[in-house]
């Protein structure tokens, strides 16, 4: 039976209106925390393998104590065990420090044939932690996976979608794969699942539970990059804007405008 570790991150439920455009301040109040949507697809991919091949699925996350609810929710969806790396000494970690912490956490728990991650997070959006984790674990990895074609005892065949081509690739275990959202539609935790699986505990791991207890390797101290400042973007204001509130007028104007633009286009 293959052993799978799924990495998830709890993120704020941002929406596109998340910033006050005049002040540049984030509207964070009242925002819920959710599991990063790409990670939910990774979890679902693992759970489908569990359903069809009988895999064992453990979930790992790093975050504040509050992230326990996300790990717990992943367990309710079907993961066998949940591990939350939570310690104030982990906070402020950049890509490599985050990957290092996850590696230490996984190694403290056991060994895995396959690690599944989401292709990116909705907050950090770097797409870097998965590849960094794979490098630290010394395993090959694939990013941008949109389909699992086959799972065998010692390898997995997956489809990777790049800008201009799709590659079907076979990668031997142990391996790491980061998946795109479209790979799977995550199951909803139903009331029955909640009742049946509510007893699955989330294991909390602190720095003291890891093999490397040197705090210089974690969090802010273990990070190479530092955010010097955060600022709101300058908006373009050179444009004269012609604004209307009347739909009928707008429809006429847009027709005229698009016809004019189309007229300037070389070929149709």
């Amino acid at each position: 039976m293959i052993r799978i570790a799924v990495c998830i991150k709890q993120v704020p439920a941002y929406d596109e209106g998340g910033m006050n455009p005049s002040t540049g301040n984030l509207n964070r109040s009242g925002l819920e925390s959710v599991i990063n949507t790409y990670d939910l697809s990774a979890l679902e991919t693992a759970l489908q393998m569990k359903d069809s091949h009988g895999a064992e699925v453990d979930v790992f996350s790093m975050g504040t104590a509050d992230a326990e609810k996300s790990v717990s929710s992943a367990c309710i969806m079907g993961a066998d065990a949940g591990y939350l790396l939570t310690d104030s000494r982990f906070s402020g970690a950049d890509v490599t420090a985050t990957a290092y912490t996850l590696m230490q956490g996984m190694q403290a728990v056991g060994s895995y044939d396959l690690i599944l991650c989401g292709s990116r997070t909705t907050d950090g959006d770097t797409s870097q932690v998965s590849g960094a984790l794979a490098a630290l674990m010394g395993m090959a990895h694939l990013n941008w996976v949109t389909r699992i074609a086959d799972v065998a005892e010692n390898c997995i065949t997956a489809v990777q979608t790049l800008e201009y081509e799709e590659l079907k690739l076979q990668i031997p275990f142990p391996a790491l794969i980061s998946v795109e959202r479209e790979i799977a539609v995550p199951r909803m935790p139903t009331l029955r699942m909640r009742l049946q699986r509510k007893s699955i505990p989330v294991h909390l791991l602190t720095l003291d539970d890891l093999e490397d207890t040197n705090e210089q390797h974690y969090g802010v101290k273990g990070s190479s990059t530092r955010v010097e400042r955060i600022f709101s973007p300058e908006r373009s204001d050179g444009h004269p804007l012609n604004l209307t509130y009347d739909a009928e007028t707008a429809a006429d104007d847009i027709c005229r405008l698009t016809a004019a633009v189309r007229g300037r286009l070389p070929s149709w």
Partner: protein, 322 residues
């Protein structure tokens, strides 16, 4: 100081995105007479040498290797090159290959990596100031790699126009066959080119939909509008994450970059994340029910009101494509 640029080399061609990264490297180098070097990895890599003529590179390191990009093998080669040159700055293009490569390389070298940089500038001796959108693309962060070297920055797509060639320049090339027969454990089973029409970046006219599009019927109408205009329908990250549009249609930093004659932005606020993907739009029409939506600051023409009211009218009035 050395600035090392990774030049993506696929099927005998250096990627256009890499030539944009090189333009940035050249710009940085001129401020302090720094040296720009390049690494190229691939099959028959010697043929890349002729494509380097005229480029502002002092020395290019060519590594003969398997044509299939595999992050483990390529990052091993690339880190070897970095170890040899000890560059202060490493610049990589923000393609999927680039991002896979950068993550492993940074971890192996225990250094920092900043992706989707919309700008990078040199400060002081050799410090690279890295600018990128943060927190879901609503604000901009200025990031530095304090002590570790190299400083690895992955540049956003189309950060600069491609570098200009000069007939005066002829980079020295160094060929290595050390990895010619090295293989990744990743095996290629099948390769399929994606059909051209899937690429949202190939359109001159784009209708883009954001989270303000509340009903799927509206999306169907927007698609029809795009078709009438001979264009394509794109989406913001929010809408893609809602599962209403595929990632292939996503415009923005973590999606695709576009250069268009006409952009019709519907129900989207115009976050940094989205606008960073709009490299050029000669004419922007914005439709949003919120008068304070940032997109109106980019627009030439705006309709502040209900998209559901406007769309049927617009489709009825608009002529079919000739």
């Amino acid at each position: 100081m050395v600035i090392l640029v990774y030049l993506e080399y696929r099927r005998g061609n250096i990627a256009g995105s890499s030539l944009q990264v090189l333009a940035k490297a050249y710009e940085l180098s001129r401020e302090g007479r720094h040296e720009v070097c390049a690494a190229v990895i691939g099959r028959n890599v010697q043929q890349a040498a002729s494509q380097l003529t005229g480029l502002p590179i002092t020395k290019a390191y060519l590594y003969e290797a398997d044509d299939l990009f595999s992050a483990d093998l390529y990052s091993e080669i690339f880190t070897r090159c970095i170890a040899k040159l000890s560059p202060s700055v490493v610049l990589i293009g923000g393609t999927k290959e680039g991002k896979s490569l950068s993550s492993r390389t940074a971890a192996m070298l225990k250094t920092g990596v900043t992706v989707d940089c919309t700008d990078v500038q040199l400060r002081g001796q050799d410090e690279l100031v890295q600018i990128r959108p943060a927190y879901g693309g609503n604000v901009i962060a200025q990031i530095v790699t304090e002590k570790q070297r190299p400083q690895i920055a992955v540049l956003a797509d189309s950060i600069m126009p491609p570098v200009k060639r000069s007939s005066m320049l002829s980079p020295e090339t160094v060929l290595s066959r050390e990895y010619a027969s090295a293989a990744s454990t990743v095996k290629l089973i099948e390769r399929r080119e994606l059909p051209e029409e899937k690429r949202i970046s190939s359109y001159d006219v784009i209708v883009a939909a954001g989270q303000g599009v509340k009903r799927k019927e509206d999306l169907v109408m927007l698609e029809a509008l795009a078709r009438k205009l001979g264009g394509g329908l794109g989406a913001t990250r929010g809408l893609v994450e809602r599962g209403w549009m595929p990632h292939a249609r996503q415009i923005g930093l973590s999606g695709h970059s576009i250069r268009v004659k006409l952009l019709i932005a519907c129900g989207l606020s115009g976050t940094v994340q989205f606008m960073a993907g709009v490299r050029r739009a000669d004419c922007v029409i914005a439709v949003n029910s919120d008068e304070s939506a940032g997109i109106f600051q980019w627009a030439d023409y705006g309709f502040c009101g209900d998209l559901q009211v406007l769309l049927p009218m617009l489709l009825e009035k608009m002529e079919d494509p000739a």
